[in-house]
C-alpha cells in the first residue's frame, strides 16, 4: 500500500488517504482480504494524527471498500467484477461532478466539453 501525503494540498489529509487507498483497491492493486494496519500504528507511520486515520478508515468503510472485524482489524472487501466496476464509476462520477462545475463556470456547452476531452484524451 502506497500513500503520499501533501501538506500543501487543499484537500484534508484524511481525504487524501481515503482517495489513494480507494484508488488502489479499485485498480486491483490491493486485493480483497488484505488487512489494513491498526489505526494508531498507521498514524505513527504516516506521521498524521490518530483521528485523521480513523476518519479515512471510516470513509472507506462507508464506501463499502473495507470492513471491520471486532478485535481483529480492518480488511479490504472482496468485490465481484461488477461491484468493482460500479464502485469505480461512482468514484469517477464524484470527480466529474466537481470538474463539470468548473467547465460550467466558463459557460461551456456539453458538446464543447466532450470535444475538448477528446483532444486531451487522444
Amino acid at each position: 500500500m502506497n500513500i503520499l501525503i501533501s501538506n500543501t494540498s487543499e484537500k484534508p489529509i484524511y481525504q487524501q488517504i481515503f482517495e489513494q487507498i480507494s484508488a488502489q483497491i479499485l485498480k486491483g492493486e490491493l486485493q480483497g482480504g488484505y488487512s489494513l494496519p491498526p489505526i494508531r500504528q498507521a498514524a505513527v507511520e504516516l506521521q498524521v494524527s490518530i483521528i485523521t486515520v480513523k476518519k479515512a478508515w471510516e470513509e472507506l468503510e462507508r464506501s463499502g471498500l473495507i470492513y471491520t472485524v471486532t478485535g481483529k482489524g480492518c480488511f479490504i472487501t472482496e468485490l465481484s467484477a461488477e461491484e468493482m466496476i460500479q464502485k469505480r464509476h461512482e468514484t469517477v462520477l464524484k470527480q466529474m461532478e466537481s470538474d463539470i462545475a468548473y467547465y460550467r463556470s466558463f459557460g461551456l456547452r456539453l458538446e464543447e466539453v466532450i470535444e475538448l476531452l477528446r483532444t486531451v484524451y487522444e
Binding site: N7, E10, P12, I13, Y14, R40, Q41, A43, V44, Q47, V48, S49, I50, I51, T52, K55
Partner: protein, 284 residues
C-alpha cells in the same frame, strides 16, 4: 476516559484574565493548545499544574481535583518545555539523581531506555544541551515516572524543522498505545496540522473553540471577493483585509450567506489565528 477536564476556570489579574476557560483532553490523544503570545496559554497551564490558584472553576485530572490531590496527581503528570533553566551547570546524571527522588514510581530501566532512545549524553551539563535535547530530557524524566498526562509548553519553539519533525514523531509514538495524553501548547500551528487530534484555541483569555481538529477548522471559511461585495458581508466577518485583489476575510461557516458572490476556501490553523488576532477588541 477524560484525562484532563478544565471546567469554567476564571482568574483575574490586573491587566489580563482567564474568562470561563473550559476544555477536555481524552485519554490517548494529542490536544493542540493554540493562541498568540499573551492569549493565556501559559496561565492556563499554570492553573492545571496548580501553580496559581484560580478564582473560580475546577480542574480535574483522571477525575480528581488538582487543587485537592496535587501531590498525588503530580506523580502522573509530566511537564516539558523548551527551556530547562534550572541547575544549568549540573550534569544530566546529577540532576536525574535529584529529580528521581521526587517520584514514587520511578523506573530506572525506563529511564535508561529513553536516554538511549533520545541519545542523551549524561555527562553533559544542562547549559550545554540544545533546545531539542532539553525537551527530550524533560520527556525522559516524565516518561520514567510513568506520567499519563504530558503537558508540553511550546516544546518545539526554537527548533529547526528536522528537530521538530523528530519530536513530533516521538509524540505520536507516545500516544500510540492509547494510554498517554498530550496537551501541546504552541503558536507553530503547522506542527499541529500533522499531529494533533484535537484543537483548543484561546484568544484574550477566552476559549474560542475546542474540537476535533478538522471539525474546528471546518467551523471557519476564508472568503474573497470584490470590494463592492464587502459592505454586504463586513458585519459577519471576524476580520478582513482589502487590497487591489479585493477583500479577504475570515467568517464562521454558519454565518456565510448562501447567495454571496464570493470565493470560499478552507483556512488553515494559522490563518484562523491571524484573522482572529486582527479582530478589534471592541467586537470581542
Amino acid at each position: 476516559m477524560i484525562m484532563l477536564d478544565v471546567k469554567n476556570v476564571s482568574k483575574k489579574f490586573e491587566h489580563f484574565q482567564l474568562d470561563n476557560v473550559s476544555f477536555q483532553v481524552p485519554q490517548g490523544y494529542i490536544m493542540g493548545f493554540i493562541g498568540i503570545n499573551g492569549a493565556g496559554k501559559t496561565t492556563t497551564i499554570k492553573s492545571i499544574l496548580n501553580l496559581i490558584t484560580v478564582d473560580s472553576g475546577e480542574i480535574q485530572i483522571m477525575g480528581k481535583n488538582v487543587a485537592i490531590h496535587e501531590a498525588e496527581l503530580k506523580q502522573s503528570i509530566g511537564y516539558a518545555f523548551g527551556n530547562v533553566d534550572f541547575y544549568t551547570r549540573s550534569r544530566i546524571r546529577t540532576l536525574t539523581k535529584v529529580v528521581k527522588t521526587f517520584y514514587d514510581n520511578w523506573d530506572d530501566e525506563a529511564y535508561r531506555r529513553y536516554v538511549r532512545k533520545f541519545k542523551l549524553i549524561e555527562d553533559k551539563r544542562i547549559a550545554e544541551l540544545s533546545t531539542g535535547m532539553k525537551v527530550k530530557y524533560s520527556l525522559a524524566i516524565a516518561l520514567s515516572h510513568g506520567a499519563k498526562l504530558l503537558i508540553l509548553d511550546e516544546p518545539t519553539s526554537g527548533l529547526d524543522p528536522a528537530a521538530r519533525d523528530d519530536l513530533l514523531d516521538i509524540f505520536r509514538e507516545l500516544v500510540q498505545d492509547g494510554e498517554i495524553s498530550i496537551l501541546f501548547s504552541t503558536h507553530i500551528t503547522s506542527d499541529l496540522e500533522k499531529c494533533a487530534d484535537y484543537i483548543t484555541y484561546i484568544h484574550e483569555g477566552r476559549i474560542v473553540g475546542s474540537a476535533e481538529k478538522d471539525e474546528f477548522i471546518d467551523t471557519y471559511r476564508l472568503v474573497n471577493g470584490k470590494v463592492e461585495e464587502l459592505e454586504g458581508i463586513k458585519e459577519r466577518l471576524i476580520s478582513h483585509r482589502v487590497n487591489s485583489f479585493g477583500f479577504t476575510g475570515l467568517i464562521r461557516a454558519d454565518e456565510l450567506p448562501p447567495s454571496a458572490a464570493v470565493n470560499v476556501a478552507i483556512p488553515n490553523l494559522e490563518e484562523i489565528m491571524v484573522y482572529y488576532s486582527k479582530k478589534e477588541a471592541a467586537h470581542v
